[in-house]
């Protein structure tokens, strides 16, 4: 028997049995007994079939994993590794992926139906938010857990300006960005000398404060009821209405799709502007200062970089793009309430940035497509889909701790541009 346990299959069986026992232990109370509300209070009912299923799945899954994938010297894993493309091929493909995705995005409205375009708008919103947060977390290395606060500031600025002063979307868009950046500076100024995780908790706290204030300042923001009937954007003054609008002006038949396609291109352009500005800034002294700051704050200070100002610009710029995205969100939905700006949103945006690979613009796109797109595809699963979402987050991170696109393209290079693996660069403490 002990000889058998020494063999590979034996060891894997033992390991799988152990995992199954732990699953049984974990599930015994939480899953095995379900609380149900009945007349006269809670009662418990057994659901042991589910427990048996879970134990079985864990046993088989763990056995399969340890036999087929985890051990180094095994035929299946070796074959799989051989099938994966080499590093240079990946970077060659990588150069093509960006333009191809852009082409896909630009042509999407020509063949997509309404559902696909709506989903495209959603994914693009997250891409824009991810790119905005990438400036703060990916480039400057400041851990921001309250990014959604700036998104909320942008959305509410537009909604409130429209409600109280009757301003149009195009006037409010820059205003929303400016206000969000302003809030970023107000928050950033006192807290940016805090290090790493202290900064994280203060930004989290700030996000919650904004949400609680929006929720409770009933006279001004409408509280939990939110703000409805937010005006839609116009196309150079042409409304998307049935009469005398966009369709009439261009002699088209009226269709409700016009507005959706317009919104799609609007967010695409906004997102591309975010990307363009970030890529350009990376090449400027300020962008280089951000990246230097991420890698080593002390070295930066001794080289005479004003760390507070550098952090503040990153924070404010990130916030500004969050504000733009917020204004877009408000005009697209036509209705906003504090419900849309919970910590979970911040966590999802941060997850997109980290899963995509810190500092990588393409990574954000891929991560948004996988996470948000995948999330929408599993819409039918109802309750289970958040569970799948969480497991996906854990799974991707364990599989690729540096994110999906983990190589770093240098912003300055001598003669030849070599990308660096993410494992080789240190991480700033923020």
């Amino acid at each position: 028997m002990s000889d058998f346990l020494q063999t590979r299959v034996g060891a894997a069986l033992k390991d799988a049995a152990l995992a199954a026992v732990i699953t049984l232990l974990l599930a015994s109370i939480m899953v095995g007994l379900r609380t149900k509300t009945e007349q006269g209070g809670l009662v418990i009912v057994g659901q042991w079939g589910l427990v048996a299923w879970m134990v079985g799945v864990v046993f088989v899954g763990r056995l399969a994993m340890s036999l087929l994938i985890w051990r180094g010297n095994n035929p299946v894993a070796n074959a799989m590794n051989a099938m994966l493309p080499k590093q240079d091929t990946v970077s060659k493909i990588g150069k093509l992926v960006g333009p191809l995705l852009l082409l896909f995005a630009v042509t999407l409205p020509f063949y997509g139906n309404r559902y696909v375009i709506d989903m495209g708008i959603l994914v693009l919103t997250y891409i824009m938010l991810g790119w905005g947060l990438n400036i703060v977390v990916g480039l400057a290395g400041l851990l921001d857990l309250g990014y959604v606060a700036f998104y909320a500031v942008g959305a509410y600025s537009y909604a409130l300006f429209a409600q109280y002063f009757d301003l149009s979307f195009w006037v409010c868009l820059p205003l929303a960005g400016i206000l969000a950046a302003f809030w970023g500076m107000i928050l950033g100024f006192p807290v940016l000398r805090l290090r790493g995780d202290y900064l994280a908790i203060v930004t989290l706290a700030f996000g919650e404060i904004i949400r609680v204030v929006l929720l409770n300042w009933y006279e001004f923001t409408g509280g939990p009821d939110g703000i409805s009937r937010i005006p839609r954007p116009s196309f150079f003054g042409l409304e998307f209405t049935r009469k005398n609008g966009f369709a009439d002006f261009f002699g088209l038949d009226y269709s409700s799709m016009h507005r959706i396609i317009f919104l799609f291109y609007l967010i695409l352009i906004l997102a591309l502007i975010t990307n363009f500005v970030t890529m350009r800034l990376r090449k400027l002294p300020i962008g280089r200062a951000w990246e230097a700051l991420r890698e080593d704050e002390i070295a930066c200070r001794s080289l005479g970089i004003n760390t507070t100002n550098t952090k503040l610009t990153a924070f404010a710029l990130g916030a500004m793009f969050g504000g733009f995205a917020g204004a877009f969100f408000a005009t697209r939905q036509g209705f906003i309430s504090p419900e849309s700006f919970t910590f979970m949103e911040s966590a999802i945006i941060l997850a997109i940035v980290v899963l995509g690979g810190l500092g990588s613009q393409l990574g954000v796109v891929i991560a948004s497509l996988v996470m948000i797109g995948g999330f929408e595809v599993f819409r039918d699963l109802e309750d289970l889909r958040m569970l799948v979402f969480g497991l996906l987050m854990v799974g991707i991170m364990i599989w690729k701790p540096r994110g999906i696109v983990s190589s770093r393209a240098p912003s300055v290079f001598l003669k030849e541009k070599k990308s660096v693996s993410g494992d080789l660069v240190a991480e700033g403490e923020g």
Binding site: M30, T37, F206, E208, A351, D383, L387
Partner: protein, 304 residues
């Protein structure tokens, strides 16, 4: 004055619960420098296990309350510890030595997983529990205003004090505590000297989970209603408490918990209930601006 004392009692009770959760955050942060976002949800799981066990125990016919509660407490601590261990094993250990943000993301992921797992297997509706421990002592009475100290509050405060005392002994006197302190200072050196670092870190998670489950039991008995979402806010508050007290410091976590509890109850008592979270978070921000490493935390020494 009477109102003040009543709020003080309520604040200390709430603060004890926060403090018990905060210890889990501060220990994990101290030893591996990571924010364990799933800790609040471990607290929630603890409360659920307690609820189910209590119902099961009552259904089995054990109605003598002290015995029933003791069984609930023990089972809840044991089972929640397994959950804490499981989360560490599954989501954090594979990323040991990886870069800083990776375990943070898996922690957020685990938090989502735990919340939705409980929602799926136990249902999304709130779970009410009739008050188990009723009655109390009237400390003082003036103009018809009673200052009450309920037995439940006494139980919470006494349990917390006992656990804290035991816990301090554990950290200061036992070999496990020594191993933990060693890992906290220098993991590589500790492993060279024969400390099993992985095991020590696992046990840290187990202890944090056990304390959080006690907080969960207390929360369940005190408020009498739980749902799958209670972990988030309690977790954020407890983490705030840990940071306020100085993260990595055990007495700091307890002090921070008490302060957050007091600020919240006094703010709701004297100003407005709606803005109590704003008050707690603002105080945190103000303290951090003037004392960047919290109240009892050691200032970080920068090495070049």
């Amino acid at each position: 004055m009477e109102y003040f004392i009543q709020q003080l009692i309520n604040g200390v009770t709430l603060g004890s619960i926060y403090g018990l959760i905060a210890i889990g955050y501060t220990m994990v942060y101290g030893i591996i420098g990571m924010i364990n976002f799933a800790h609040g949800d471990i607290f929630m799981v603890g409360a659920f296990i307690a609820l189910i066990t209590l119902l099961a125990v009552t259904a089995m016919g054990i109605t003598f309350l002290p015995v029933a509660l003791l069984i609930v407490l023990i089972i809840s601590m044991l089972m929640t510890s397994v959950w804490g261990w499981g989360v560490e094993r599954l989501a954090y250990r594979p990323l040991r030595g990886s870069f800083r943000l990776a375990p943070l993301i898996t922690a957020i992921g685990m938090s989502i997983v735990l919340q939705n797992f409980v929602q799926v297997v136990q249902g999304a509706r709130v779970k009410p529990l009739p008050p188990q421990i009723t009655g109390g002592i009237t400390i003082m009475e003036k103009d018809g205003f009673l200052v009450q100290l309920s037995y439940m509050q006494i139980l919470i405060i006494v349990t917390t004090v006992l656990l804290m005392a035991g816990f301090t002994l554990l950290i200061n006197k036992t070999s496990l505590g020594r191993a933990q302190r060693a890992c906290e200072q220098d993991q590589k050196m500790a492993s060279l000297l024969g400390v099993n670092v992985d095991r020590t870190i696992s046990l840290t998670f187990v202890m944090g989970a056990a304390l959080a489950s006690v907080a969960g039991v207390m929360f369940l008995l005190y408020y009498g209603v739980i749902d799958f979402y209670i972990g988030f806010l309690a977790g954020v508050k407890a983490f705030t408490a840990a940071v306020l007290g100085g993260i990595g410091s055990l007495p700091g976590a307890m002090l921070g918990g008490l302060l957050i509890g007091l600020i919240e109850t006094f703010w709701s008592g004297y100003f407005s209930v709606e803005y109590k979270d704003v008050a707690a978070f603002s105080i945190l921000a103000i303290v951090l601006i003037f004392m960047p490493s919290g109240l009892l935390g050691k200032p970080e020494v920068e090495k070049v």
